[in-house]
Symmetry: C2
Subunit: 494 residues, 2 copies
């Protein structure tokens, strides 16, 4: 986190005004990384899966969120200190005091749990009052006066559900079809204390897969049938066992561990997406949510969790079987028909499987997993196609025409679409170190030999080894290296 | 707009609930187009100009927007009908009734103007009460209770200004440097009636250029010095003359028409950006804002306007000379030092030139400008690198193995990163027509000859002419055509 702040990945928001909990900025490098993670996600869902992407408002009128159940159910159990008045989310204050996660526990049991463990105000030690519900949506009004209540969306999904009729026409009635949305979600947390893991404003990448409940198959299921999944089942959680059940996607469906083929398919895709952004297989598990933990709309939910040093297992995606909960509620509330004709010509209300990803949390995990401390250096072993800066260009010395030559090379590489940084400050060693710290895969150095024979060196971030190449081939070689089409070896690039 | 709605570019939001004014969704094709416009903008500002991109929250605490002047000045003059209670923005109701734009007129003059022109309620004909101010920010509260007031940001710029100290360290104190942010902005319009042109929630792409007020030069000014600018000066506007002053960027600075080199540079870049997304030079002008029209923070503003059939001249970007207004206000309100050492080692408070673009309006203009009706067809002549769908793949007939072959080609092209659509429904003519309507540059048809000799046809959207190519070269040829590296001619691609 120190490196992330210092080098411009993640900054606390509104710092000069003392900051506001639950808000973080992505600095210049964080933004580049975030955009690349989003781009990678689009490759999976929009390009490969062929899902439609839509982009709908973050402000929503009350009717929509009343129908979706969020006005009534998107609540946090909360307590206030009777002495100092500080407010806390019950699950947070309990976790801090006892290390236990009581998410999903009924309110009465929470009361007893807190009494039994003598949970007091962490700020002043005062006693807490009764537990009460706090709606976690940001509330506002649309237009002048206060006639029309609106909320900031708690999820992007509702923007998709209310467009269902237009979307199914766009899909020309073919099932299954999928729709994604990438954008801000909001949760007005009571007293967020976990950095980028618990944000009041965050970026979600959500996919809604609409299908005939009588036919929950995926046409390309065989592509993932053998993908290994590490599942932490409710049964084991309740027994307090950390045991993971390892099955293939196919077995998970056959053994009825996972509700249907579509769910298993997207568990496998989620694993592949996480691998593609640099999380190792051993650091990924899928936790089955207990009935109490599940959102009001879900009949089965799997959390994709990534192991981190700082926060333990972090939920980076949730895959929920939303059934026809949303479409049925919106049909009822709006009076519109949201059914569709299935392949065998019967009218159906689609069911939905939803893979929903947290972009900020994924980014945090990517950073932590890429961080490498070796005896004499620190570097980010980011996947090459995620690196915010792709190439650094350095003149060895600030004289003899080297900076001018280096500038030209820098401009040339930018014109080829390569994200390049020019750096002529400090020793060459310090410049390599700066580039390593932000995960720049390749650094190009211009030296006296360049002026003589038109060659430059390229240094590889992971091995620190160097090769010398002809200047006129440089853009092409760097592009091949960045795309992973070539290995970093003298023989392969010259 | 009919085509835009029908084919999934732009949809009114929350339609099944009767819609809410000022909110629009981007459907599947609109989203793809919007992402490509944003990507193009990033090419200009992040890749070429080397600006830093950041990503900060859309919810901001009151202190920030109090300091920025928005709590006091981001207001709309408004009237309410004394008979039916309907509320209107004064400038809107006046424009509707008289065709006159009185934006920026002092309140007393507005009252007189309305009286003189007998402007009544357009809904019921009732008389209006007194004009009063309405703050156009969406208000909310952060955390439980209502201790901490927050607003949805009216511009992304403030997220950049409050990060100034971190940003200037990231730039290692070098001036000028630029920072961009692309994201949602909000304006709680009173009664928006102009479709996608007047939105309550919109996407902005803003750039803030920080510079030493004693040195407002741009290091690459010579690259744009000869760019022609069509300027509509305040003097001509006040005389009611539509006359445009045509000068080069260099002359505009020399003749002191434009305040400094940086402003002229970004006027030229704005023109180039608009050209790059398909707006013709003749449809672009820069309107100088009058003192009354300018925002509270600006000492000189140029609106980039694009001529449209439906809405007349539409402002798609505003370039404001914000001086040190924001940094000085935030320094004062936060008590932090926001100065920096200039090249000649004196402490300066940076001045700011801000090119700020409306993405939704740009997208609307792109669509309208691309729309071509010919005697026997309708098509979108979108720039190839903006087209939401890049290639259509069609089996000529739904038998003889053609669909299977076509599916394989479709999958192959997707794997090469080409945004491809498969279509086997209706006659080949109807499929071409559907592809033309959404601006798909190339359609590939698989016919009986394909099965015999392994060739397919490629059809060009703009000319409707066709060429026949070998299947194994298809991805490479399409990529070259899409990138504009090759011409669409039999000889050049085979």
């Amino acid at each position: 986190m120190d490196l992330a702040k210092r080098r411009g990945f993640i900054w606390p928001s509104f710092e000069i005004y003392g900051g506001v909990g639950g808000f973080y900025d992505f600095g210049p490098l964080g933004s580049l990384l975030k955009n690349k993670i989003i781009q990678k996600w689009r490759e999976f869902y929009v390009l490969n899966e062929g899902f439609f992407e839509i982009d709908s408002p973050s402000v929503m009128p009350e009717e929509v969120l009343k129908a979706s159940g969020h006005v009534d159910h998107f609540v946090d159990a909360m307590v206030e200190c009777q002495k100092c008045g500080a407010a806390f989310r019950v699950t947070d204050v309990v976790r801090e005091a006892t290390g236990k996660d009581i998410e999903g526990m009924p309110k009465e049991e929470m009361e007893q749990f807190m009494k039994k463990h003598k949970v007091r105000c962490p700020d002043c030690g005062g006693e807490f009052g009764k537990i009460f519900d706090f709606n976690a949506m940001f509330r506002t009004t649309i237009g002048p006066g206060s006639q029309r209540v609106g909320y900031l969306r708690p999820e992007t999904a509702q923007g998709i559900f209310v467009d269902f009729n237009r979307l199914q026409r766009h899909a020309r009635g073919q099932l299954p079809f999928g729709v994604v949305q990438i954008g801000r979600g909001y949760r007005n947390e009571i007293s967020p204390r976990q950095g980028v893991i618990r944000l009041r404003e965050f970026t979600m990448a959500e996919a809604e897969v609409f299908f005939d409940p009588d036919d929950p198959r995926h046409p390309r299921f065989k592509d993932v049938a053998n993908e290994e999944l590490a599942l932490w089942l409710v049964g084991d959680q309740e027994k307090g066992k950390e045991h993971l059940t390892e099955v293939t996607a196919e077995q998970a469906v056959k053994k009825k561990i996972v509700c249907n083929e579509l769910m298993a398919y997207y568990l496998a895709i989620t694993k592949r997406f996480l691998l593609s952004i640099g999380i190792t297989a051993g650091a990924i598990r899928f936790r089955e949510q207990t009935k109490g933990q599940r959102a009001h709309y879900s009949s089965e939910t799997w959390d994709a969790e990534v192991s981190t040093e700082r926060f333990g297992w972090v939920e980076v995606a949730g895959l929920a079987y939303r059934t026809d909960y949303d479409l049925s509620s919106h049909a009822k509330s709006s009076g519109q028909d949201l059914t569709i004709f299935s392949a065998d010509k019967k009218k159906v209300l689609c069911h939905v499987v939803e893979p929903s990803y947290g972009v900020d949390r994924s980014l945090y995990c990517v950073l932590e997993h890429a961080y490498v401390e070796e005896k004499n250096r620190v570097y980010l072993r980011l996947k090459k196609d995620l690196a915010p800066v792709e190439v650094g260009v350095f003149p060895l010395l600030n004289r003899d025409g080297l900076p001018e030559k280096a500038r030209k090379i820098y401009e040339k590489l930018k014109c080829c679409g390569i994200m390049t940084v020019y750096d002529d400050s400090g020793s060459i060693g310090r410049r390599y170190a700066r580039a390593d710290e932000v995960g720049t895969p390749y650094c190009v150095t211009i030296d006296h030999k360049t002026m003589e024979d038109g060659t430059v060196t390229i240094r590889d971030r992971d091995t620190t080894s160097q090769i010398r190449v002809m200047l006129d081939k440089l853009p092409e070689i760097l592009l091949s290296l960045l795309r992973g089409e070539k290995e970093f070896e003298e023989s392969s690039v010259n």
